[in-house]
Amino acid sequence: MRLITVAGPPSSGKTAVILHLVQAAQAEGVRAGVAKFDCISSDDGEIYRRAQIPVCTGLSGGLCPDHFFVANIEDCVAWGKREGFDLLVTESAGLCCRCSPHLRGITAVCVIDVLSGINTPKKIGPMLRLADIVVVTKGDIVSQAEREVFAFRVSRANPRAGIVMVNGLTGQGITNLMRYFREIPDMKSFEGSELRFAMPAALCSYCLGETRVGTTYQIGNVRHMEFPRKEGEEP
């Protein structure tokens, strides 16, 4: 079985791209399923089911979504193997731009849309910087010049990645994406698998359920902001 992790900001077009991709793969005789990760709720499970794509959904609820992801990915793979898939795609929303669900040795895709603005590629962090393929969506509604500037900025943020423009509505561009995916090798096992980027060094009182505001309640890994000072003003 092959595994692909797809991540990207909310509403960037992940589901739309995965739908087209899985359908293109199915047309080539590939048995594919999707594992959907989200925080509070998700309608994507229903969307995949309606397209007759097998899906499992995991909601992280009160937990950090990316911690939840690593803690469950092995079980997802086991599910995929039980179901007899040739291809398993995970979809997860990158919510804080600090984390990334990408794993070493597993093809990592970041989906980002041109409407998010030309400064977004450098703001997104490891989810984009460490991806193997960056899919750029919604190019159908902006100018050619903006598409070119955006792609240039993506390649500056991640010079290694292949950049593929995909129209999530029509599926235009999937042909190109499939050319990358046909070359993905089978995953052997998860033994010794590692995250590409460490999760945040957290563990403060708030991680443990503290709700009160104020320094008295802050224990553990807490950092305070710096503010501009007037000349001679004491910190």
Partner: protein, 265 residues
């Protein structure tokens, strides 16, 4: 493969929606304009998508695209595919919050242009040449009128985009001088494809591909008679433009089959 070295594009036929062979091979060279016509759902956009993805028999139509007469190496298809084709369509808009000049500078920088100031001036001049209403570089791109932004997109694509192939899906905007726009693309040696239902645009190409049932049903080359007809259609179009202008500038339109009414000036 260098984008600048793309001199011709050949498309070999695949099969139509019903699996029948599409018995056509078509070669388009730098500076050629090819129009694409046919009813809704006949496969015009699919054809443009095949070109955009440099189809290698791996799309639903089975078509293949050759560059300079040769098949394209798969690694090149992947790496260059995106940059080969520039696209322009009616629903595209500028969304960046910058002035025309600032944005063009940004685009020039991303193209690592040796003379960004010069190219930005040239694009603004060309865009003003194509647009009905003039505008300066200080105006925000999101504030441009439909005609102005279309004109700026065409000028920028012609002068700054690296893509040797330009795909246009319907530019019917009245605010743009379509003839001059196409002349600019020809002059910059772009290989241009236009999908359109507009007779004026359709007659501007050196050839027309006629689509039916998802395949090319015919390649139509204008004859002497059609070239004359095209001149007539253009006259009517210009007449339309004058009527539009009369109404736009607050005039009363006196036009019709009655010769007494024929004095718009």
């Amino acid at each position: 493969m260098e984008l600048a070295n793309v001199r011709s594009l050949t498309i070999t036929g695949g099969r139509n929606k019903y699996g029948r062979a599409e018995d056509q091979t078509l070669t388009c060279r730098a500076g050629d304009i090819t129009c694409i016509v046919g009813p809704t759902g006949s496969g015009k956009s699919r054809f443009l998508a095949d070109i955009e993805s440099l189809a290698q028999g791996d799309t639903v139509t089975g078509r293949r695209v050759l560059i300079n007469g040769s098949p394209v190496d798969p690694s090149v298809v992947r790496a260059t595919g995106q940059k080969l084709v520039a696209q322009l369509s009616q629903q595209m808009n500028f969304i960046v919050d910058l002035s025309a000049e600032e944005f063009l500078m940004l685009h020039a920088e991303s193209r690592i242009s040796p003379d960004p100031d010069g190219i930005v001036r040239a694009i603004l001049a060309a865009a003003n040449d194509l647009s009905g209403e003039k505008f300066t570089g200080n105006v925000s791109v999101t504030q441009l009128s439909g005609g102005q932004s279309r004109a700026l997109m065409i000028a920028d694509t012609a002068l700054l985009s690296p893509s040797p192939i330009v795909l246009i899906d319907e530019i019917e905007n009245a605010g743009v001088d379509r003839r001059r726009a196409l002349e600019l693309l020809v002059q910059k040696e772009k290989i241009t494809f236009i999908a359109t239902h507009d007779p004026v645009l359709a007659l501007m190409g050196s050839r027309r591909l006629w689509f039916r049932d998802g395949g090319i049903a015919g390649i139509i080359v204008p004859d002497e008679n059609e070239r004359e007809s095209a001149a007539y259609v253009r006259e009517i179009d210009e007449q339309w433009a004058r009527w539009r202008e009369t109404i736009r500038t607050g005039g009363l339109l006196h036009a019709g089959p009655d010769p007494d009414l024929h004095h718009t000036d």
